[in-house]
Symmetry: C2
Subunit: 245 residues, 2 copies
């Protein structure tokens, strides 16, 4: 039997958000590869080997998956959310580009519910108009580029979603993000901090830009910023579908 | 029994991409409301009334759903893709804002697989780094704003996803979008046209900006534009996770 690699999105946490397509792929797998907390979501069963690895070893993980597929294994690389949004799909193709001997591998990417859309749904419809998604981590890009993109997003009046807003190793950067937003946007701009969305630890916190503090975010938080028309209706936050001409 | 309104995302077309959460909500519903082709995806059953309506009546549909919930009905408004991305969730909150008598309605928004992420998965990982989602329709906003956002997205070197790129009533506008991209981006920039993604009519077409023509898109197409680093590896298109500092 020939091997394959599938990169599957597990969604933000709630098992009711895992697509049947992903569930089927997991049931056919011989090997699961991924970051420790994501692999921990997969139920063990006979014939299935779990390969959990630490963060920041994405290329090693991709190479390992390609090697196992070449040996005839059926490998699912698990990502939380959607694998194409700041997750393992790009890393797999980087690995494939670096290892042409695996060019013929059978690969599938299976989409999932990404955190920003799960967070938006919990809060209402804050991304209901044009929006940007920005990874605030500077592991793989200079922070200057983050800042440039923030300013373009704000000046274009996009709503925004921020992934990986804050880590222990760079606590000052999210403070800088808030400073840039304060230079570009009005103080009443709505900001939503959604932590561990759809899990039992879920916390949703909606504040204005004037009230926002860096401590409101951690690495389990996705941050949504409304555009200039985003507003509250009752307990909900939404962005209207259009703007007056 | 008290009524409710749930806005549910059916995903891009393949039933294997409908989340179990959405399937459960549909099974509890007494009434399904939505645009004709989306309601057509719901299997009829005793006790379920299907209310299909034409495009551009989103606010009427929202009001109808709120009225039925007030009468004790369990109403699911169906959207394709994700209801929070250029779909019915914002319209429901616009309707709620306009009708304070329904303020106490029990509302839930259930996320779905949005077209850009399904299209990205089919092609590889073209949205694997920071990206923007832009609705090119000018039904509800001036085209000047579309153009301004395009330029900010390009100048910020975001990858981009365009919803509703082209319709019979405004065939010239997507041509203008391509002109703006040609002013802002290099001719080799990769563009992906994904039509009817995950359905039997799916077509995926990857070209360079120099090769792109307006006729490559219609209203069933989502268009993805890479950033300056987006490249091919074999039959795949992907955007690396980072850029050199």
């Amino acid at each position: 039997m020939s091997g394959w690699v599938t990169v599957a999105g597990l969604g933000p946490g709630d098992e009711a958000l895992v697509t049947p397509e992903v569930t089927a792929a997991l049931s056919e797998a011989t090997d699961i590869v991924g970051y420790i907390p994501y692999v921990a979501r997969i139920a063990p069963r006979p014939g299935l080997t779990l390969h959990a690895s630490d963060n920041r070893v994405e290329l090693d993980r991709a190479r390992h998956a390609l090697e196992m597929a070449a040996e005839g294994r059926r490998v699912v690389i698990v990502s939380s959310g959607d694998p194409g949004v700041f997750a393992m799909a790009s890393a797999l193709f980087e690995g494939l580009e670096a290892a042409p001997e695996f060019a013929e591998t059978e690969i599938r990417i299976l989409p999932g519910i990404t955190a920003m859309l799960a967070a938006a749904a919990r809060a209402g419809a804050p991304l209901g108009h044009d929006f940007c998604a920005i990874n605030l981590s500077d592991n793989l890009k200079p922070f200057d580029l983050v800042e440039r993109r923030l300013r373009h997003a704000a000046q274009g009046d996009f709503a925004m979603a921020f992934y990986n807003p804050r880590s222990k190793s760079r606590p000052h950067q999210f403070a800088r993000v808030l400073e840039v937003l304060r230079e570009e946007c009005e103080p009443g701009r709505l900001i939503l901090f959604a932590r561990a969305v759809t899990t039992p630890e879920e916390e949703i916190n909606v504040v204005t830009l004037a009230e926002a503090t860096p401590e409101m975010a951690d690495m389990r938080t996705v941050v949504l910023v409304g555009n200039s028309t985003t507003r509250r209706v009752g307990r909900w936050v939404y962005t209207p579908r259009g703007v007056a001409p």
